[in-house]
């Protein structure tokens, strides 16, 4: 299991899997990095033993959210779309947390889609193409995202949108293909196929698509479709986005030129919040840096009622450095 105290603080309840049919948005800054939450979620999903279905005599404890355990669903399949780090990064950190990802990959329990190595159009000119060595390298990803060629005329709405949509549609088909392949002795999703595990789709981090110059509407539609597919299979979707002040619209007004500096990133993050059911905001402490405490974590619930914050689940926790 990842970080036990964090699991309790998040309130997802034993065995600390993400709630099914939920979308989790994690926001962080340079001073309070929240990537540890990604490792925590992956480790929890893969390492926690499948729980026994709870009996009517022992209902789940009050105050906890419905989990995969409550739904009678076991381990999800983790599909990681790594847009910020290569597979080795996740492999090494997972080992520190007591989980070896290599056997998980062999069992199709963990799928890694590499969005780092080849996404940029510059990757086409690399001398040693990482995809060529995929058969020999045990840590090679399951799939490489194809290069994204931004349109020459980014100012034209339809051109930028169509170019982005073409790339993202291909990526969506790949992701859904991995969702539907059979698993080995794991829990089932909602589609009724007993050999298909429920997926836990993770994007680390989604801001890279924005930085590549993709059209925000196309990204949001892509994520909407991912959410739709994940929810249909009783899975969960996790997004990580950076929310440093320098990325906000106010900071970009001074040099507002080009497709990346349209001052719209803050609105993009807000749109992600509308997409999410749960929001985890990692923030630095307002009182300044501390040796033992790195920051604080705001846990917001959107839930089925559509309310962003419900009192029992709105909480703020400290991120300790252990």
């Amino acid at each position: 299991m990842g970080f036990p105290t964090l699991s309790t603080a998040l309130g997802f309840g034993p065995p600390y899997h993400l709630p099914t049919q939920g979308t989790l948005l994690i926001t962080d800054t340079l001073t309070s990095d929240a990537s540890f939450l990604i490792h925590h979620i992956v480790t929890n999903a893969l390492q926690t033993p499948p729980p026994a279905p709870h009996s009517p005599e022992s209902p789940p404890s009050a105050g906890t959210m419905p989990t995969t355990a409550a739904m009678g669903v076991a381990k999800p399949r983790v599909i990681m779309v790594g847009l910020a780090h290569i597979f080795n990064h996740y492999l090494l950190i997972s080992r520190k947390l007591g989980l070896n990802l290599l056997p998980q990959r062999e069992q199709r329990q963990y799928i890694y889609i590499d969005g780092v190595s080849l996404t940029s159009p510059f990757a086409k000119h690399r001398r040693f193409h990482p995809a060529d060595r995929s058969s020999q390298n045990p840590t090679a990803p399951d799939y490489y995202c194809p290069p994204f060629d931004p349109p020459t005329d980014c100012s034209h709405h339809a051109t930028a949108y169509t170019s982005s949509q073409r790339y993202l549609t291909d990526l969506l088909h790949i992701i859904v293909g991995f969702m539907d392949i059979g698993g080995v002795g794991v829990g089932t999703g909602g589609s009724g196929d007993q050999s298909t595990p429920s997926p836990s789709l993770i994007f680390d981090d989604i801001a890279v698509l924005w930085n590549l110059g993709m059209h925000p509407s196309a990204i949001l539609e892509f994520l909407q479709a991912c959410k739709f597919h994940v929810e249909s299979r009783n899975g969960s979707l996790t997004l990580l986005a950076h929310t440093d002040r320098c990325l906000s619209g106010q900071a970009q007004k001074a040099d507002d030129e080009g497709p990346l500096a349209t001052g719209g990133y803050e609105y993009f993050v807000k749109s992600l919040m509308y997409l999410a059911s749960y929001i985890l905001q990692a923030e630095s402490l307002p009182s300044g840096h501390s040796r033992d405490v790195h920051g604080q974590l705001l846990h917001a619930l959107r839930g089925n009622s559509g309310n962003m914050m419900e009192r029992p689940n709105a909480r703020s926790s400290c991120l300790a450095s252990n």
């Binding site: 709405h157 249909s232 929310t243 803050e266 609105y267 919040m273 917001a300 309310n307 962003m308």
Partner: protein, 370 residues
């Protein structure tokens, strides 16, 4: 915190608006991340489906661009009404995997569900909505259309959206006799409205353009945001939230949900009602909400008349005398102080010339020996 007066009311404009009793055209509900409008939209749909019209059970069309149709209407809410749904999603009906069949199963209580692709200009989506509305209008005189988000539409040119709504008969009650009426309600995420129309992530400010479609507008606020809106001078730059800090633990707590209903009457007078609302056990509970200092006309602070009474006189407990008798005050007013005479004199300068004075106008610096 502003002075707050809350009193229970038996009549609520908000309930009237949500049930289309006040207007039968188009109702935009402006919400935000800090105060979602989805609960109100769900309540409105539920009320509509539970109310039979004179022409029979209600016909509801859901246009879902952010949420799933089964999240808006579950089977227990249908009550004999007719629910149609259109879901805009990348790829449309050509979905990979088994997701679309799972959705169809979850939406089995709906009469019709269509998955439509979101093309860049929403042409396909608009076409399907128009076609569905026209088909329904042939059988029913009035249909109710609910949009869970109008944001993708608002990223298009405003003229296209207005033309689209006019085609549906929205915003024109006189069109009822001709082709039926499409009464609409839509959520608009107000915090995505940006002043810079060139930003591709936000949407341009459209509030005034949408006023052409209906006289009623609903704004949802968090209590703190409402106070900021009403009195920005109270919130200095240091008080403003940092970038991206869109949520805090005070949002959406009970009692902090504020709805402002703006109703533009035919006489062009604006009627505004602000209320605190909550939805408890499928019931809309509202309380009239008045900020005391905004009761005066045009938002000006009310000037209070201070009436001195012997009880509240602060001078009565002093050990020395600061007040004047009438006789003393009259003598004080009649006294002419010396500087008053000096100030009334003219400002002429009297100068006695000296023997050494040189009044040579041609060379005034002659005495300097330069």
């Amino acid at each position: 915190m502003s002075p707050l007066e809350v009193k229970k009311t038996t009549h609520s404009s908000l309930a009237d608006v949500l049930e289309f009793r006040q207007t039968r055209t188009f109702v935009p509900i402006y919400d935000s991340v800090r105060q979602s409008g989805l609960p109100l939209l769900r309540y409105a749909i539920r009320r509509r489906l539970s109310t039979n019209t004179a022409t029979g059970p209600p016909v509801v069309l859901l246009v879902c661009l952010e949420t799933r149709p089964d999240a808006l209407v579950n089977p227990s809410l249908v009550h004999g009404g007719e629910v149609h749904a259109i879901m805009g999603i990348m790829g449309g009906s050509d979905q990979p995997g088994e997701a679309s069949s799972a959705l169809m199963k979850a939406c089995a209580h709906m009469k019709q569900l269509q998955l439509v692709n979101m093309s860049p200009d929403l042409a396909q989506l608009k076409h399907v909505i128009t076609k569905t509305v026209k088909t329904l209008q042939e059988e029913h005189s009035t249909i109710y259309v609910y949009y869970d988000s109008l944001v993708p539409f608002l990223r298009q040119p405003m003229g296209q959206l207005l033309r689209f709504f006019r085609t549906l008969g929205t915003g024109d009650e006189s069109a009822k006799s001709a082709s039926g009426l499409a009464i609409s309600m839509a959520l608009i995420h107000e915090d995505l409205l940006v002043p810079d129309a060139t930003s591709s992530a936000g949407i341009p400010p459209v509030r005034h353009a949408l006023e052409a479609l209906g006289p009623v507008t609903v704004h949802l606020y968090d209590l703190e945001d409402y106070n900021r809106t009403m009195d920005p001078l109270l919130w200095t730059e240091e008080d403003s939230r940092p970038a991206f800090a869109h949520l805090d633990t005070s949002n959406n707590s009970p009692g902090s949900r504020v709805a402002k209903v703006e109703y533009l009457k035919k006489s062009r007078k604006m009627q505004i009602e602000t209320s605190v609302y909550d939805i408890v056990d499928d019931r809309l509970v509202t309380s009239e909400f008045v900020l005391a200092r905004y009761q005066a006309d045009a938002g000006k602070p009310a000037e209070k008349e201070i009436i001195q009474t012997p009880e509240n006189d602060p001078l009565k407990s002093l050990s020395f005398n600061l007040t004047l008798t009438d006789q003393q005050r009259e003598a004080k007013n009649n006294l002419v102080l010396p500087y008053v005479n000096e100030q009334s004199a003219s400002g002429a300068i009297i100068y006695q010339p000296d023997d050494g004075d040189d009044f040579d106008e041609e060379d005034p610096d002659d005495d300097l020996d330069i």
